[in-house]
């Protein structure tokens, strides 16, 4: 039997859920009960009408992530849970930076930095300017670090949002869920079509 990777790495968990009150609580306790830190959590509408999408980032082993997803799917109002490694998703985080306007106008390196990271101005006032940028965490962290030397007044970064590369979206799945009879996709057996692996006697 193949074993799951025992190395911790970053996983993006994508959930499709009903949009009901208390979902965040029910889902977050599945992590906190096991003393697992949620590094980032985003909730938003999804491509399917009336279905909510959670994007959660954690650092864990695949074995733990798989079990967490099973526990999450067990929640009555969760339709489906997926987990993916970073190379299986397109992901972004957004950041806002507030810096003194004087720094931007007077210090050439600042302007260079902002160009380099593709940051664009959202608000420009006499006293401060707000820039926004989107990208991977490392890029955002690097810009934050650089701006820290130039009187960065305020900084905020959003949770990760991610698109699964191989996903075909949730429309078709939702139809299957809406049918009264259970659809075949509800649980996947990783041993199907792997008869050789099962019979090792």
């Amino acid at each position: 039997m193949e074993d799951y990777s025992m190395e911790k790495q970053e996983y993006t968990i994508t959930l499709y859920t009903e949009n009901s009150i208390g979902m965040i609580g029910r889902i977050s306790t599945i992590f906190s009960r096991r003393k697992i830190n949620i590094e980032s959590l985003n909730t938003s509408p999804s491509e399917a009408e009336g279905i909510h999408r959670f994007t959660i980032v954690i650092q864990e082993t695949e074995d733990v992530v798989r079990k967490l997803c099973r526990q999450i799917e067990k929640q009555v109002e969760v339709l489906k849970a997926y987990y993916n490694t970073n190379d299986e998703v397109i992901w972004q985080e957004q950041a806002l930076y507030k810096v003194p306007t004087s720094v931007v106008t007077e210090k050439a390196p600042v302007e260079r930095l902002l160009r380099q990271y593709g940051a664009s101005a959202v608000v420009i006032r006499n006293d401060y300017t707000v820039f926004e940028t989107a990208g991977h965490r490392e890029e955002i962290d690097a810009l934050t670090e650089a701006l820290a030397e130039y009187n960065l007044i305020e900084f905020v970064r959003s949770a990760r949002i991610a698109i699964i590369k191989h996903s075909e979206g949730f429309h078709k799945k939702l139809k299957e869920f809406e049918e009264a009879e259970p659809a075949a996709e509800v649980v996947e057996n990783r041993y199907l079509d792997k008869q050789d692996k099962v019979f090792t006697m």
């Binding site: 526990q71 019979f199 006697m201």
Partner: protein, 580 residues
């Protein structure tokens, strides 16, 4: 009863006749719609409208007034376990609801179908720290399969319908519906009760895939030393007959988890005993010698597996379970058979070859002889004057013939009862398995009796556990549940004392517990009773207890420092089970 005809409203909703009823009436109509006959509960401020409506439903719904909400939910659990139906509980907001939490956690881990209806403060007071307001939804969400707060009466029929559907389907569990007082009072256009059969985000039953069955049967047919472990899933799936047909055709020895006991009659020639920390010697040892391990409706609890990295490593594991989250949770599976065992077992039986694993079965019986010699003989037929818990259970077996429902509390007496009680029929063992809730026994026995009033219900309880919920004697007094209360009194919190003796150098720290005169206490509640200290009185006393038409309390003073053996010490492998 004409409560539904208070105000017929035919002006709205087109031609459809609708009726104005209150949210409270809608709750009770939902219960009737679900075929509920018994509710365990306790009134209070925030649930008064429902109790007011109940006044008019007295002829259709039996309400048992418990003495504490914890007693109410344990009673509902006992009811669910012996009847196979959903247990229903009413409690008020705040302390009423928080008193349910232990029972919810117990029902969650032991998969009991329960629906709790709690009152809540008026919707406009939510979050204001109003009198008897607690955040019941958030407090109970980790210990409920589903919960929901109703703030508008129109939601009540659907919320209750979903609650019953979720509680009893798939892997059953407790559901809590919290209803604000305004919703209970509100009149709304009622269109009748419609049960729920489908929730799009909820898949109680995975469809059975032939491939699993084929793979599993191929493994089983190749096996030389197959071994079946069965849990409560067989009982919850009402698959006792299908289970028996399977093991009989395949000729496979089968051992029960604590929760699986009574799914197969104790005397069956393939029943090789109980698993786990205080289970039988043979099934524990041979778990690590079998070649194919077939787990049916059980979840590899740590009390069953002992040290996981030394658990059945030589075996290919086939796991039949309805809950996908249980597959590969603790033990890696070779073939997962997701599905309801009522469906999967017959498919498997069809494909397995008819076998008799005579030699392998003899291996179990040989080890059983060792256990009899080292442990069981002395426990059931002691050579000293000191009475043992085992001999009490043995005589009870002789007198009931294995026909009784045995309810236990938690501790040494529980393990002894589970080890030695004889079961002829399913749904006969009611105990707190996963949570280990002391105080479970007495109220659960009351509920168990309402769930199976034609059966003898014996509650075996320790001197510690009985004192946790002894107030429920009042419920028996008032409503007459014919529960036989058998207190095995060793004047200690015995299981903790045993661990302190074995693992803490006999440093007995707060395990010495004194008890009131239980017989006098029972008398105060109008329940006859007797206490015995000598073996010569045992059989007659048990016989009198069983013969009495009504509740009865019998206290048996047993050995103070007897231990339950065998034992798999914590952190040891199942093969390292100790006989002494």
């Amino acid at each position: 009863m004409n409560t539904l005809e208070i105000a017929k409203d035919t002006t709205q909703q087109g031609n459809r006749p609708t009726t104005q009823i209150s949210g409270s009436q809608a709750v009770l109509e939902a219960l009737l719609g679900e075929g509920v006959d018994t509710v365990f509960g306790y009134p209070g401020g925030a649930i008064m409208p429902i109790y007011d409506a109940l006044y008019d439903y007295n002829d259709k719904l039996r309400h048992i007034l418990v003495r504490h909400e914890q007693g109410g939910i344990h009673a509902a659990q006992g009811y669910a376990r012996t009847s196979g139906r959903v247990g229903v509980v009413f409690a008020t907001s705040g302390p009423g609801a928080t008193n349910l939490v232990t029972g919810l956690a117990d029902a969650m881990i032991d998969s009991n179908p329960i629906v709790c209806v709690t009152g809540q403060v008026f919707a406009h007071l939510l979050g204001t720290d109003a009198f008897q307001e607690t955040d019941v939804i958030n407090i109970t969400s980790p210990v409920t399969k589903w919960n929901y707060q109703v703030t508008d009466a129109c939601e009540i029929p659907m919320a209750l319908a979903k609650a019953f559907h979720i509680a009893r389907t798939g892997r059953p569990g407790p559901v809590l519906i919290d209803i604000t007082k305004n919703a209970q009072l509100q009149l709304f256009a009622y269109e009748g009760y419609k049960p729920c059969h489908h929730i799009r985000s909820y898949r109680p039953k995975p469809i059975v895939r032939k491939e699993y069955i084929e793979q599993a049967s191929a493994l089983i047919n190749q096996a030389k030393r197959p071994f079946v472990l069965f849990g409560q899933g067989v009982i919850l799936g009402k698959a006792e007959a299908e289970f028996k047909a399977f093991i009989e055709k395949a000729g496979i020895p089968a051992a029960a988890t604590v929760m699986g006991l009574s799914a197969l009659e104790t005397d069956h020639h393939l029943h090789v005993g109980m698993l786990g920390m205080h289970g039988n010697y043979a099934p524990n040892v041979l778990t690590n010698e079998c070649d194919v391990l077939i787990a049916i409706g059980m979840r590899f609890d740590d009390r069953v597996t002992g040290r996981l990295d030394k658990y059945a490593k030589q075996a290919q594991i086939v796991h039949l379970d309805i809950d996908p989250a249980e597959i590969d949770k603790n033990v890696k599976t070779a073939v997962p058979v997701w599905g309801d065992c009522k469906e999967t077992l017959p498919l498997l039986t069809e494909l397995v070859e008819s076998r008799e694993h005579t030699e392998w079965l003899a291996h179990f019986r040989k080890l059983e002889q060792e256990e009899i010699k080292e442990v069981i003989q002395e426990e059931l037929n002691p050579t000293t004057d000191i009475m043992t818990m085992g001999e009490v259970v043995k005589i009870l077996n002789d007198l009931t013939g294995g026909e009784a429902v045995v309810v236990t509390d938690v501790g040494q007496h529980q393990m002894v009862a589970c080890r030695y009680a004889k079961f002829n029929r399913s749904k006969s063992n009611v105990t707190s398995g996963g949570l280990g809730t002391m105080g479970f026994g007495l109220p659960a026995a009351i509920g168990a009796w309402y769930g199976a009033p034609d059966r003898t219900v014996v509650a075996i309880i320790g001197d510690g556990g009985i004192q946790m919920t002894i107030q429920e004697l009042g419920t028996i007094m008032q409503f007459g549940a014919k529960v036989k209360i058998l207190i095995l009194n060793n004047e200690f919190l015995g299981m903790v004392r045993q661990w302190q003796q074995l693992f803490h150098d006999k440093r007995y720290s707060f395990v010495n517990i004194t008890s009131p005169d239980f017989v006098t206490v029972a008398q105060g509640y109008g329940i006859p009773g007797r206490s015995i200290r000598e073996r010569k009185d045992l059989k007659q006393a048990l016989s009198d207890m069983l013969a009495h038409d009504g509740a009865y309390l019998l206290e048996v003073m047993v050995g103070k420092e007897n231990n339950v053996f065998p034992m798999v010490p914590q952190g040891s492998s199942v093969a390292e089970i100790r006989l002494k």
